[in-house]
């Protein structure tokens, strides 16, 4: 390797190890992330495109602003960030490890001068007696000391939570672990969706990116879907009853899934996501009676179909809902909007009839009184389907991150040295974090020692 090559590599290594790069990358990641929260991601809606010029659209597209978090330059930033974290850790870890595994056991006078906290006082007794006394004191009040003899003096060293120095590296490691988990998920997992009509099943789901079909290897049936509402009309619960059939056998039987309570089978998880009418020819049932009296007539019809009524007029169903309270909060339950056209034409009347209020329509004052008996219309349930084998790696990373943060912020490596000569004791102390707090503890310790 030539010198200039070596110089270049060293410069590159120093570049990646630098804290300045870390701060720069953190601020760049923060600043660029804003773009994707302002510009709509994915396929931009037409209303948005009307607000920007053609030139702007071209620039945004070229820079990948419509899928910013997967654009080459954002991914590059993330890779640089990872390399930076790893390089910084590799550079600093050996020194920290040395401080943990090979602590300075002897406080000589030169070392004493480097310590911020030292105390010096006289105490009766020869060196060996004092040594034993100090060792017992440290063991009881602080931590078990290591005793070294040098030149007729005894040196005691005790430390607490040396491993807290590793906290920051645990956090760095956790970020790398989370990235690995995310990569595993993106290579070996998928996000898909499927709509299942009540009473039917499927073994194929569709990838959310590109609608590619994915074979599950088993069948999921939706036995029933239901939705309930609060009195205010706000939705309370969406519930699907799912059955899983694998190899001809029912392995999960009518398990209810709701939002926030998914079903997992063979590493594939099904989440309640949406619902809607299946749209295929359900029948709507009505009872019609004449105001002047007579037997009520029952009739059933499909949406859009026109049926003749006893008095010669005709009706059709315009729309229907399983739960009307989301549109008309004062009413609950199923409802249908119907159109009645008088005999021989004329202005049609449009009104709503409710299943839970059978007498409501009599107040309308028409010659015919309608009540709604509901429909046998089928619903479909919309499920999100996800497989992510990397998710446990991500959770491991998250756990490490929390542990690392606590180690890094709330624990410090506290060290105490004691040098004992005949009739003379010198204490030194140091903590790598929260020095003011340690100073108080150190002073309290010295006071206690003097009282002995």
């Amino acid at each position: 390797m030539t010198t200039s090559n070596r110089g270049f590599l060293e410069a590159l290594w120093d570049f990646f190890c630098s804290l300045k790069l870390a701060i720069f990358l953190l601020i760049m990641l923060a600043a660029t992330s804003i773009i994707g929260t302002v510009i709509p991601q994915g396929t931009p809606p037409p209303e948005y495109l009307q607000t920007i010029s053609d030139a702007k659209y071209k620039i945004y597209s070229a820079l990948g602003f419509f899928d910013m978090y997967h654009s080459w330059w954002f991914i590059l930033l993330l890779y640089l960030f990872t390399v930076n974290i790893v390089a910084c850790s590799i550079k600093r870890l050996p020194r920290v490890w040395k401080a943990i595994s090979e602590p300075t056991l002897v406080m000589d006078e030169g070392f004493e001068k480097t310590l911020g906290l030292t105390r010096d006082f006289k105490m009766d007794g020869d060196a060996a007696t004092l040594r034993d006394k100090m060792a017992a004191f440290l063991k009881g009040e602080f931590a078990e000391p290591v005793v070294t003899e040098r030149d007729g003096e005894f040196h005691l060293f005790a430390q607490k939570t040396p491993y807290s120095r590793l906290g920051v590296y645990v956090v760095h490691l956790s970020i790398v672990v989370i990235f690995i988990g995310a990569l595993i998920g993106s290579f070996f997992g998928y996000k898909a969706y499927v709509n299942i009509v009540e009473g039917t099943g499927t073994s194929v789901v569709y990838n959310r990116n590109g609608q590619k079909p994915i074979d599950l290897g088993f069948t999921v049936r939706c036995e029933d879907f239901s939705v309930s509402f609060y009195d205010t009309g706000a939705p309370k619960e969406f519930k699907s009853l799912l059955t899983v059939i694998d190899g001809g056998k029912v392995v999960v039987d009518k398990r209810p899934i709701i939002v926030n309570d998914p079903l997992t089978y063979k590493g594939i998880t099904f989440y309640q996501s949406s619902y809607g009418p299946a749209g295929e020819g359900g029948l709507y049932h009505f009872t019609v009676r004449e105001r002047k009296g007579g037997a009520p007539v029952k009739l059933s019809l499909h949406q859009g179909e026109r049926k003749l009524l006893p008095d010669g007029s005709s009706m059709q169903v315009l729309e229907a809902a399983q739960e009307v309270s989301q549109f008309i909060p004062q009413f609950q339950g199923p409802a249908a909007r119907i159109e009645v056209t008088p005999k021989g034409g004329g202005t049609p009347q449009v009104f709503i009839v409710f299943q839970n209020y059978p007498d409501f329509d009599s107040q309308r004052g028409g010659d015919l009184i309608f009540s709604y008996d509901g429909s046998d219309e089928k619903m479909f349930t919309g499920l999100q389907v996800a497989k992510d084998p990397g998710v446990w790696v991500v959770w491991t990373g998250c756990f490490l991150m929390v542990v690392g943060c606590c180690m890094a912020f709330f624990m410090s490596h506290k060290r105490i040295w004691i040098r004992v000569r005949k009739g003379h004791v010198t204490l030194g102390g140091s903590a790598n974090k929260n020095q003011p707090g340690f100073q108080l503890a150190f002073d309290a310790l010295v006071d206690k020692l003097k009282q002995q």
Binding site: I23, T37, E237, M401
Partner: protein, 283 residues
């Protein structure tokens, strides 16, 4: 007694507390400072009772859920966490004067909530019906509150350091009561090292919940992204402290920028952008 009345009493207590702290800066009397602290503690107790009562009221109305489900409830809880973190700083580090720059944040939140936001108890939509709601919201807001306290301290730092530069002689005026800039710098750091792990936990619990409810722990939703932006800024702050020239003034500015981003993450995203955290519409 309704929770709404208690919230009003708490708001009023914070007003008294803030005025007392301002008077404390001017007259430098220990008793006035103590009165400021006591008023905020009284407000905090009433505030806590009000939150619990509102929780109970939601059960009485038949839709029992923790009062953390809409903008009003979150602002009220945010104010509560700010006073909590201030109380810790006051009791642990004995820097009461910080209250003059922190209690106003809580008062602002409470006044806005009481006067400007819809305070009705609403039923929980299906997406929020989960225990994760509690863990996620509590950790996030404790983190936000620590950042609010750090921001207040940083403002004090900038005022103090500005005055120190312009008039080296002056130990008069309101800043005489301020702790030294070294202590303010340290308190700023301490507040942020409380906030940062809490924000981290808040993001993680949010990710865990999203994964449990929707099957994706991260979807670059604006709220998620902004919480990450806030995380990056404070991570930069923590690293900057190890670099020479980034303590003191620059750190104080970074702390204020961080809190501005926090507020945008909390309110701006809901009010200005669209996404999964839709409570912002209920203003």
């Amino acid at each position: 007694m309704t929770s709404s009345m208690l919230f009003n009493i708490a708001t009023f207590s914070y007003l008294i507390s803030m005025l007392a702290f301002f008077a404390f800066l001017a007259v430098k009397s220990r008793q006035v400072g103590l009165a400021g602290s006591l008023a905020s503690y009284f407000g905090f107790i009433v505030h806590s009772a009000a939150i619990l009562l509102r929780w109970k009221e939601s059960y009485d109305m038949g839709m029992g859920h923790a009062p953390l489900s809409n903008l009003y409830e979150s602002v009220v809880f945010f104010a509560w966490t700010i006073i909590l973190i201030f109380g810790i700083i006051d009791l642990k580090y004995k820097y009461r004067v910080v209250g003059a720059f922190v209690v106003p944040f809580a008062l602002l939140g409470m006044a806005w909530a009481q006067l400007g936001l819809h305070s009705g108890i609403q039923p929980l939509v299906p997406a929020l019906q989960s225990n994760w709601l509690l863990y996620h919201v509590i950790t996030c807001f404790l983190g936000y509150a620590a950042f609010a306290v750090a921001c207040g301290i940083s403002i004090m730092y900038l005022i103090k350091s500005g005055k120190d530069e312009s008039a080296a002689s002056g130990q008069g005026g309101i800043i005489a009561m301020f702790p030294s800039i070294k202590i303010l710098d340290d308190l700023n750091y301490k507040a942020i090292i409380i906030g940062f792990p809490l924000l981290t936990l808040g993001i993680i619990t949010g990710a865990a919940w999203a994964n449990y409810a929707w099957g994706t722990y991260w979807s670059w939703d604006p709220k998620e992204t902004w919480s990450l932006i806030v995380w990056f800024i404070y991570a930069a702050f923590l690293h900057a402290r190890f670099t020479r020239g980034w303590v003191g003034k620059k750190a104080a500015i970074l702390s204020i920028v961080g809190f501005a981003a926090t507020i945008f993450c909390y309110l701006g995203v809901n009010l200005l952008l669209s996404g999964l955290h839709s409570y912002g519409g209920g203003g």
